[in-house]
Each structure stands twice: as structure tokens, then as C-alpha cells.
């Protein structure tokens, strides 16, 4: 009891009793989550503005006579004539390790019912991206655990790789798989006790999604044990557009803390199409001039300033990184839309998912022709680089030949062989959701494919064979995979061990 009164006494003692000076204004109009405020002559752009009943807003439009403020809370408690005050602060969110395993809203308040966030540091949501000097080229891999991605479209730490496709083509699944894989690698690395091991922490930003979808994602992350390494920033569809607009920046600020403290982080923006729509809504209400598809003129800057904050920093700046996986939803496979082309041009590559492939059962439905990683093989371990070098070309050739072969009855043996190999590769890349594969196992499977171990198996059984081989390599023939994991290379003696392990497996599979 006495400690409580002591606590309050200390709080009172620490209170400043000096006269305060505040800059105030009056609400003259309030509609659609936006307040027009007269006064506030000293307000700054993006400054937090305080309204009655502890409601906060952000000054987004500074006009001659009025200030347009976007309200970040319940507007029903506000009315015309209410006083608004400047706070002198930019909108900030809590950052740090205490955010891991938590679900927060767009302004960093916990919404998971697990109590207060254990954090004593805050970062402003809007920050300037790192410049040229502190950056370093991307050369460390960030494994997604998805064979089709890690082999053909490798992602590096600090890269921005767009995941693009129509609705229900598995965009979120790729992102979640990547998060789950990071958690698996983190656990493995922590257990190994390797002092050089660098875990990848993840931030998942849900913008404009259904609450049920967010809940499902959280459940998957909990079931797979990945939640301990993840922070979820949620601004669902029911949230006001201001929160949906802010959520990616808040998530980015959380990710930047990891990057600036010499750690690696991955951030998923799911999705930036809805983010652009929320920003369009705010801009239209603020009566900003609209352009193509009614988006405001600065919609490119909206995403470029966000994605530029992902970077790989050099050793002098802590060697941290922030990798971004933005998601864009296309309409009828149209990648030439306004927002998709904007984000494609900002990012360092894209993973394009096709509805047709998805419906044919080829999952993940990665379109080889339209997907690219501008970092390329610089972000692959040597062993993987050795076995995956030709696979993208082989698969692209297969897709082209497959289209032509529909009209040809007689095919030469070389074409038939290429088609046969392509069909096997397609089957090999089929992978169940939320089941990422370690990179050493991927390497071994790819090696088996490149060395014709699957050629005697019927195409219809390849997927089954690949799963069986993965299981074998993870349980019985673990030695070659362990060597690849340790060295990152595929030496000659490792290849011999791999060969004998695969031959053993093949006997059991047959």
C-alpha cells in the first residue's frame, strides 16, 4: 500500500509545474475521419495533434487558413468547435525485442490481450531511408524454404522482393512460409550455439485484411512456433483508413530498429494495393487533386519512401538488414496496372503467381517467365548455386516447348527429353503450404534431379518421390545434408556421400 502511495508521490514530484505553452486550433468541420482545424499556426507536417478525450490525429494538409488532420481513433467523441492542440511530436511506435510475439495496431498499441509491451524506446513511423554511404550490396541469402523461389528467384538479406498475383493464388502463403522458415532456421541456429549465427526477426503487416484472415495467420504462426520471432502489425479492413495508411510505416519503424542494432529482419507488407486504396481515400477526403485511377499524385512516393527504408547496412553501421516482401494483388493477371507497375519498378524483383498454374495444382504457382530476382545468385549458398544454375532456363524452355508441342504429333528425341525433364522439375517444385524445406535438403533434391535420379520414376509419382527423399534425407541419410549445412559447399566427397544416400533411398522407394 505504502509503495503505491510512494509511487504516486514520486510521479507528482517529477511533474513539471512550469507554465505551459501550447499551440491550439478549433475544429471547424469533421467528416469521414478527417477534421478541418482552424488555428494551429505552428503545426508541422505529420505532427501528432491532440483532440479532446485523448484522441490523436496527424496533420497531413497544411493550408492557408486550415489544417487537415486525419483522426487516429474514435471520431464519435469529437464535435465541431472542439479544441485541438499541437504536441510537438511525430507519430512514434514502440520498438525493440519486446515487440516479438506480439500483435499491435497501427500506432503500436497491443491488441493481443497480453498486457503492456515491454519497450522503453520509440521510433517515429516516418523516417528518412538510409543513404548510399551506409549501405552494402546484398549478398547474404534469406531462404524462404520454398524450392521454386530459393532455386530460381533467390532473395538476399536487405532485398525488396515483390510478391504479385491475383486473389487466391498463394501470395500470403509464400510470405508466411518464409516467416516460418526463418523461425525454423533461428531455432536451429540458436541450438547450434554458433556465435556467428544471425537470426532473422520478422514483422508481418496486415493492411485492409479481414480480421478472420489475420486471426488465421496468427494461428498458423502459433502452431508452427514461429510467433516468438514475429511482430504482427494489424490494420484490418474495419479499421479507419488513417490506420491502414500508417500500418506499413509503423511496421517498417519496428523493422528498422532491428536493422540499426546490427540484426537482420524481414518485413511483409500484406498488401500494398489496399494500402494505396486507403491512401487514395484519405487524399480524396482531404480534397487533394487526384490523378490516374483517382490516386493522388504522390502515390509513387507513398511506396518508394516505404520500400527504400529496407536496406543492407555495411559493417561500419552494424551490418544489419531489413528485407521487404511487399504484396500486390492484381486484377485478372494485369501486371501493367498503375500500382503494380509502380511497385515493380521500386522493388528488386518480383515473384509472379499465376491463377492458371494454381488451378492446375502447381503450387506455389510461380510463373518462371515473369518472376525475377535482380540480386540473382549473389544471394545463394555455393552448394545451391552449383545445382540450381540451369533449372530456371530448363523450366522456361519446358513451358515454351510445352505450348508448341500441343500442335506437334512427332517430336524429336531431344525435345521429348527436354519436355520430360521439365515435367519432372515442375513436379519437384510442388510443395505443400506452411511446409518450408531446409536449404541443404533442397540442394540434395536438386542435385538428385540434375543427376537423373528421378528419370526412372513416372512423372505422376515425382512429387511423392521428392517428399519421400526429403524425409529420408532429414531422418536417415542426414550426413551429406549436415555437411552442406556446415560448409555451404558441395565438395566432391559430399557428392559421393549424397550419391550413395540417394541410391539407398531409391531402393527403398522402388
Amino acid at each position: 500500500m505504502s509503495s503505491i502511495t510512494e509511487l504516486i508521490r514520486k510521479e507528482i514530484e517529477s511533474l513539471s509545474t512550469d507554465p505551459t505553452k501550447t499551440n491550439v486550433g478549433t475544429i471547424t468541420a469533421l467528416a469521414d475521419g478527417v477534421a478541418k482545424v482552424e488555428g494551429l499556426s505552428k503545426v508541422m507536417f505529420n505532427e501528432m495533434v491532440e483532440f479532446p478525450n485523448d484522441v490523436l490525429g496527424i496533420a497531413l494538409n497544411l493550408e492557408e487558413d486550415t489544417v487537415g488532420c486525419v483522426i487516429l481513433g474514435d471520431t464519435s467523441a469529437l464535435k465541431e468547435g472542439d479544441e485541438a492542440k499541437t504536441t510537438g511530436k511525430l507519430l512514434s511506435v514502440p520498438v525493440g525485442m519486446g515487440l516479438l510475439g506480439r500483435v499491435v495496431d497501427a500506432v503500436g498499441r497491443p491488441i493481443d490481450g497480453k498486457g503492456q509491451i515491454n519497450s522503453d524506446q520509440e521510433y517515429p513511423v516516418e523516417r528518412i531511408a538510409p543513404g548510399i554511404i551506409p549501405r552494402k550490396s546484398v549478398d547474404q541469402p534469406l531462404q524462404t524454404g520454398i524450392m521454386a523461389v530459393d532455386s530460381m528467384i533467390p532473395i538476399g538479406r536487405g532485398q525488396r522482393e515483390l510478391i504479385i498475383g491475383d486473389r487466391s493464388t498463394g501470395k500470403t502463403t509464400i510470405a508466411i512460409d518464409t516467416i516460418i522458415n526463418q523461425a525454423k532456421i533461428n531455432k536451429q541456429g540458436e541450438e547450434s550455439g554458433d556465435p556467428d549465427f544471425r537470426p532473422v526477426y520478422c514483422i508481418y503487416v496486415a493492411v485492409g485484411q479481414k480480421n478472420s484472415n489475420v486471426a488465421r495467420t496468427i494461428k498458423v504462426l502459433e502452431e508452427t512456433g514461429a510467433i516468438d520471432y514475429v511482430t504482427i502489425v494489424s490494420a484490418p479492413a474495419a479499421d479507419n483508413p488513417a490506420n491502414q495508411y500508417l500500418a506499413p510505416y509503423s511496421g517498417c519503424a519496428i523493422g528498422e530498429w532491428f536493422m540499426e542494432n546490427g540484426k537482420d529482419a524481414l518485413i511483409v507488407y500484406d498488401d500494398l494495393s489496399k494500402h494505396a486504396v486507403a491512401y487514395r481515400q484519405i487524399s480524396l477526403i482531404l480534397k487533394r487533386p487526384s490523378g490516374r485511377e483517382a490516386y493522388p499524385g504522390d502515390v509513387f512516393y507513398l511506396h518508394s519512401r516505404l520500400l527504400e527504408r529496407s536496406a543492407r547496412l555495411n559493417e561500419d553501421n552494424g551490418n544489419g538488414s531489413l528485407t521487404a516482401l511487399p504484396i500486390i494483388e492484381t486484377q485478372m493477371g494485369d501486371v501493367a496496372g498503375y500500382i503494380p507497375t509502380n511497385v515493380i519498378s521500386i522493388t528488386d524483383g518480383q515473384i509472379f503467381l499465376e491463377t492458371d498454374l494454381f488451378n492446375k495444382g502447381i503450387r506455389p504457382a510461380v510463373s518462371v517467365g515473369l518472376s525475377v530476382s535482380r540480386v540473382g545468385s549473389a544471394a545463394q549458398i555455393k552448394a545451391y548455386k552449383k545445382v540450381a544454375g540451369k533449372v530456371k532456363l530448363e523450366l522456361a524452355q519446358f513451358r515454351e516447348l510445352a505450348a508448341f508441342s500441343q500442335f506437334e504429333s512427332d517430336l524429336d528425341s531431344a525435345t521429348k527429353a527436354r519436355l520430360d525433364r521439365g515435367a519432372r522439375i515442375v513436379e519437384m517444385f510442388k510443395q505443400a503450404a506452411y511446409n518450408p524445406v531446409p536449404v541443404e535438403v533442397q540442394t540434395a533434391v536438386m542435385w538428385a534431379m540434375q543427376n537423373d535420379f528421378f528419370d526412372t520414376i513416372p512423372v505422376a509419382q515425382i512429387a511423392e518421390a521428392v517428399n519421400s527423399l526429403k524425409e529420408y534425407l532429414s531422418t536417415q541419410g542426414t550426413e551429406p545434408c549436415a555437411e552442406i549445412y556446415k560448409s555451404g559447399k558441395l565438395e566432391e566427397d559430399t557428392e559421393q556421400k549424397l550419391k550413395s544416400a540417394i541410391e539407398d533411398w531409391k531402393r527403398t522407394f522402388a
Partner: protein, 132 residues
Amino acid sequence: MATTTKTKKIAKKLLALSLDEEGRVEETKVRSILESLRNDPPSNYRSLLQEYQSETRRYLPTVQCGLEVPQGVDDQVNQTISGKVNASQGNNFSIDSSQNPRLIAGYKLRVGDDVYEDSIDQRLENLRKSLS
């Protein structure tokens, strides 16, 4: 949009006509402007009046500061405050004092958009915020 801009310009001119030599809004001038408008109403009469009202509302705090105290203030205090405000702001401010028992003790002074406050009410509010 063009009408609004035109209306704004006229409203600004009306405000300029309402000022005396020291830049204060003079009630008699405002009354005569309103009367002449009433006698010969323009097509945008309503919007012009609204704009005139907002222009005046925006202008008043730049020449008049509002002083809130829990109990009445005598003229001497008024003059002292007025002198200090004029010295610091470099303007000819007049004081519009009013009573606000909510303050309990202390004062609240509004100069333009700036509010200077040192009252019990404000200290209690700070305490509430720090404890919540």
C-alpha cells in the same frame, strides 16, 4: 471554386474596412457594413457573411488576447498583462478577460493560436495523463 475565391477576396476587403487606425476591429464599422449588405444583398450574400465571419474570427486573436482567471481581474492586472504581451509580441493587443472557475487557481492566456497556462486544472490534467 472561382466563386469561393472571389467571396474570400471580398470578405478580406470587408474585414479591412472594419478595422480602425490601430488595426482593431471596430464594432460600429462592422454594423454599418452589415447594414449596407442587408440593404443591397449580393448574390452570394449568405456565403459572403459566413466568410466575413470566419475572416473576423481568424483575425481577432491576432489583436486581442483572451485571459481566463478563476475570479475577476482588476484593471491594473489587465494593463500589466497587456503591456507584457505587447512587449513580447510587438503588437498592440487588447485584453479580453473572462472568468473560468474550472481553473481553480492560476490563469490561462491566449495570444493568437498560442495558449499559456499555469493553473491547477492543467496540473491535474498533467497528473492524469502521466498516470494513465
